[in-house]
């Protein structure tokens, strides 16, 4: 198989295992490219990409931007804080205005879940979801699974625990979909207030004791506590959260086996993960960031190759 089954990357839910494997295989080649002294290929010379960020982002935006530049695409950037969205323009109008400037692809982060899906039904461009509310963040899940594959050889058969704020996390949902599609076993771990009510329907295990969860797993993905999405108090104090669900070096060293520690960033050092864990050999946090560029290059390359030249 050499082609994606979809024209947009809206979520992991909408793609299949073959798509994921194709993205990984393509990312392998791009990983080699970005480690050359000249890190650029001319594939997307005639493609223009708009990065629409209706919500703050540092890592993801830089990673997408770098991926696009490495592929030689032309890019325009847009952030909601400095735009006409503040003046009351609708999403479709904003995007259609941008598309009328001959843009082929849209990378969008939006605070509302389903914004990407909605847009894909109304506009004529390839869309990559860079995070929509608490819904999905597909490229993050892809790069997480890719990093596991790189570190442990394969994702199938591995045991992965996702720790922390599952309720507000698009990273958690996309990761669960991707890991399950690739044949891994998944458990979530966190305070009951931060676990979604119907989490069982996703086919994942639930564990509220961090030590037990870590004893079980090969990989621990430590999520950030998203204070900005919490309108009420989900746990008494940050300190209590850290005591129960924070990963420290003492606990990591006391486990029977060496597990891999991941974090999608940004890290709240001393909350969900201590500094000595984040900087330890077992943490692959910076590998995740590097792989992010390769994965995003692969996604953009594969989607761009499906854009019909005649339509432009």
């Amino acid at each position: 198989m050499s082609e994606l089954s979809v024209n947009h990357l809206l979520g992991i839910k909408y793609i299949n295992e073959d798509d994921i494997q194709l993205i990984f295989k393509t990312a392998d080649h791009f990983k080699e490219v970005i480690n050359r002294s000249i890190k650029k290929v001319p594939s997307l010379r005639d493609i223009t990409i708009a990065n629409l960020f209706f919500e703050n982002s540092t890592r993801t935006r830089l990673s997408f931007e770098l991926a696009e530049k490495r592929l030689s695409a032309d890019i325009i950037n847009f952030s909601a804080s400095s735009s006409s969205v503040k003046k009351g323009e609708t999403l479709i109008d904003t995007v259609n205005n941008i598309l009328s400037m001959k843009v082929d692809m849209v990378v969008m982060r939006h605070p509302n879940p389903g914004a990407g899906v909605f847009l894909s039904k109304h506009i004529n461009a390839s869309i990559v979801n860079a995070g929509d509310g608490a819904h999905e963040h597909p490229t993050q899940a892809l790069l997480d699974c890719y990093s596991i594959r790189e570190k442990l050889g394969d994702v199938a058969g591995k045991k992965v625990v996702i720790v922390g704020d599952i309720l507000h996390s698009r990273v958690a949902l996309s990761n669960i979909f991707a890991l399950k599609k690739l044949g891994a076993s998944v458990k979530v771990c966190g305070p009951k207030t931060l676990l979604p009510k119907y989490i069982d329907s996703l086919g994942v295990g639930v564990e509220t004791n961090l030590r037990k969860a870590l004893q079980w797993c090969d990989v621990a993905n430590m999520l950030r506590v998203q204070h900005e999405r919490m309108d009420i108090n989900y746990f008494p104090t940050t300190r209590e959260y850290t005591q129960q669900f924070g990963l420290n070096k003492t606990m990591l060293d006391s486990l029977d086996k060496e597990i891999v520690v991941m974090h999608p960033g940004p890290i709240n050092r001393g909350v969900e993960i201590t500094s000595d864990v984040a900087d330890s050999k077992q943490a692959i946090i910076l590998d995740q960031v590097q792989n992010g560029v390769a994965i995003r290059m692969a996604v953009i390359y594969l989607l761009a190759s499906k854009i019909n030249r005649d339509e432009n």
């Binding site: 050499s2 080649h29 080699e32 490219v33 002294s37 000249i38 997307l44 499906k306």
Partner: protein, 179 residues
């Protein structure tokens, strides 16, 4: 579909030896020379020539890299299918080296055009030569000609030349395939 044998195993072997000797004439000890096999099918020929030069002609280890040109091609989005990449493996610097591109069939010249761009990501070679096993005459789209050729072939557009290598296809042979 019909096919005609252009070269049999023995003729392939003779052509390989001739190419090896021509390379020695120009590159002597190969100290500043590197081989670049063009992915996917140029690498078999490159491996063959390297082994031949090292065993039969007693040359010291010749540097060989694989170059994939997929991301440099000029037909991105012009095909129905997504172009699938292969592995690039160049573990040396080509700066100031004499580079020999090795590919199995030279047809339009577009692959070599892409390879000329791609190799620049690995440094600035002192010069670049092109070795091709089959040179399809009169079919070039670009002003690119080989420095070494195994055999020149006149094939019309709906004909295809297929080079088979023992390690991949079970036999050494060159076929002309008509649809």
């Amino acid at each position: 579909m019909s096919q005609k044998v252009l070269l049999n195993a023995k003729e392939v072997q003779i052509a390989l030896h001739r190419l090896a000797c021509q390379l020695i004439e120009n590159h002597d000890t190969f100290t500043d020379t590197v081989f670049i096999g063009i992915q996917p099918r140029g690498v078999y020929l490159a491996e063959r020539l390297k082994t031949l030069l090292e065993t039969d002609y007693k040359l010291k280890e010749i540097k060989l890299g694989y170059l994939d040109i997929t991301f440099y091609r000029d037909d991105f989005r012009r095909n129905d299918k997504t172009l699938e990449a292969n592995k690039t493996k160049i573990n040396f610097i080509v700066e100031d080296k004499k580079v020999v591109f090795i590919d199995d069939v030279l047809y339009t010249g577009r692959s070599i055009r892409a390879a000329l761009t791609a190799i620049q990501s690995f440094g600035r070679p002192s010069d670049i030569e092109l070795l091709t096993f089959i040179d399809r005459r009169f079919s070039r789209h670009l002003p690119i000609q080989p420095d070494y050729r195994g055999r020149q072939v006149d094939a019309i557009n709906n004909e295809k030349v297929r080079v088979c290598w023992h390690e991949n296809d079970g036999e050494d042979a060159v076929y002309l395939i008509k649809n």
